[in-house]
């Protein structure tokens, strides 16, 4: 079946700016602009970049009982999530496998806004529609909602210089409804780069105005999905379809402590029985390679004895560190500093298990 690649409301802006467009999760997206991935990566680390993330999906769930229902559908608790807070969460299958990783915004006591991966919109929507009790309203607002990310240490200053009151800027993993340039939007202090940054949600019809308004500040430059990927990889952030998929659990992905399984031992959610069952020996690790050469997804990981112990899920040259980094799953006990071999092509690349994030100097948690 051939599926048409969809354009975002900003596609024409990207083409006019000289972007190289590629298909991604069914969307025609900018992978880079004219300056290139490394320049865009560095500009995000050092200044501020703008990303078109309109391809991602947005759902709204409301009605009496929505909170209890979501608490059963999602792996991290929703019961104790306060209004105005964003929480990273997982939609699991009964085996504990990750159907999607997503962010839940608590809008009101029984109203939630959920941001999901572009490639998972249809399967997530089907799961919510199937599992939510009758009487709770589920709306897929993806087509009506634009998402633009402003990321980088100067992002707060840019918003303030556009007229936003400094005290309206949300704290880390909080959100506010704000008005800027005459446009009402939902603004959250979230992102995928490891830098101080914001995600802006507004009606699709206003996407181009907001994009151009933000770019009217000469400090802001557009950045594509290529830089988004190297930025998130340096932070050790999982990417759905790579580190996360329906065959791995959040525990294997190293995110078990987020689930608070010990704090809420009686809590039942889809996948909870599997997660409380026998522990898996598969673990996601960060690997720092010994040079600039990258090990790509699918590369076999061996121990020093040459025995196959795992597989790379993401790998690239890290512009901030000047050497290649990778993430992957290994099925063997390990310690940070353990040496590994990545069997890419003709020569194995040596590396060692490294604590995440690879890049430690990000401004993501900077106090404003």
């Amino acid at each position: 079946m051939e599926t048409a690649v969809r354009n975002t409301p900003l596609t024409e802006c990207h083409i006019a700016a000289g972007a190289r467009m590629v298909p991604f999760a069914g969307w025609n997206m900018p992978v880079q602009y004219s300056e290139g991935i490394i320049a865009e990566h560095n500009h995000t680390r050092n200044a501020v970049s703008l990303f078109d993330i309109c391809h991602m999906g947005e759902f709204r769930i409301n009605g009496a009982g929505a909170r209890t229902a979501l608490d059963h559908l999602l792996a991290r608790p929703v019961s104790d999530q306060q209004t105005g807070i964003c929480r990273y969460n997982f939609l699991l299958n009964p085996a504990g496998g990750v159907m999607d990783d997503l962010i839940v915004y608590c809008i009101a006591d029984d109203e939630f806004f959920i941001v999901v991966n572009a490639g998972c919109i249809a399967s997530d929507a089907a799961q919510f529609r199937q599992e939510l009790p009758k009487g709770i309203e589920f709306t897929d607002e993806s087509d009506a909602t634009a998402k633009i990310d402003l990321q980088g240490p100067l992002s707060a200053e840019v918003l303030i210089s556009l007229g936003l009151d400094a005290d309206r800027l949300p704290k880390y993993f909080h959100f506010n409804n704000v008005k800027t340039g005459g446009m009402s939007c939902l603004l959250s202090r979230t992102g995928y780069t490891g830098e101080l940054g914001f995600e802006i949600y507004l009606p699709t019809a206003q996407a181009e105005n907001m994009w151009n308004l933000l770019l009217s500040d000469s400090r802001v430059k557009p950045a594509g999905l290529g830089a988004r990927d190297t930025l998130r990889l340096e932070m050790g952030y999982a990417l759905y379809g790579h580190e996360l998929n329906t065959t791995v659990t959040p525990l294997e992905a190293g995110m078990g402590s987020m689930l608070n399984l010990d704090k809420y031992p009686e809590r039942q959610f889809i996948g909870s029985n599997a997660l409380r069952g026998p522990a898996s020996d598969k673990q996601l690790v960060g690997i720092m390679l010994d040079g600039r050469r990258a090990a790509r997804e699918g590369t076999i990981i061996s121990n020093i004895a040459g025995e196959e112990i795992g597989i790379v899920t993401s790998g690239a040259f890290s512009p901030s560190l000047g050497k290649a980094v990778a993430m992957g799953y290994i099925s063997e006990d390990f310690n940070c500093g353990d040496k590994l071999l990545l069997n890419a092509g003709r020569k194995a690349i040596p590396g060692q298990i490294t604590e995440l994030p690879f890049y430690q100097s990000g401004s993501v948690r900077k106090k404003l």
């Binding site: 190289r20 992978v31 880079q32 290139g36 991935i37 490394i38 320049a39 290529g226 190297t230 040079g291 600039r292 050469r293 990258a294 790509r296 690239a316 040259f317 512009p319 290649a324 092509g345 003709r346 020569k347």
Partner: protein, 122 residues
């Protein structure tokens, strides 16, 4: 005389040496180049042997030798500064030099005008 391949390599003949690299078009297509695996000096190659690898942020691309010959020099500057290929693909970004090549193998390659036509056909 300068020659080109359909795989976007260039070969500049300079006396008894053939200097090789990837074309500006290839460098632009790859984007920011982050790593170059160079051949070893003294390697004897035949046409089609893998000469090295050029990696960008998003992709890795094997380079195959368009000529047979002996590798007499490699551009060691690329080890620490692979971005030289982005800045100057057809000069400072050269990859290696060969000697002992068979001039008849050059007949299979494109000249500048032919390569330009080939690029337009892509």
């Amino acid at each position: 005389m300068k020659y080109f391949t359909e795989e976007h390599e260039w070969i500049q003949i300079d006396g008894n040496e053939a200097i090789m690299g990837i074309t500006e078009h290839a460098a632009n297509e790859l984007g920011d180049i982050t790593y170059v695996e160079l051949p070893e000096e003294g390697n004897e190659l035949i046409v089609g042997d893998q000469l090295g690898v050029v990696e960008s942020v998003k992709a890795a691309s094997d380079i195959y030798s368009p000529l047979g010959g002996t590798v007499v020099a490699v551009n060691e500057a690329l080890e620490d500064n692979p971005e030289l290929i982005n800045e100057s693909a057809e000069a400072k970004g050269w990859i290696c030099k060969l000697t002992d090549f068979d001039e008849s193998e050059l007949n299979d390659l494109m000249k500048s005008s032919g390569y330009e036509k080939y690029l337009k056909s892509l």
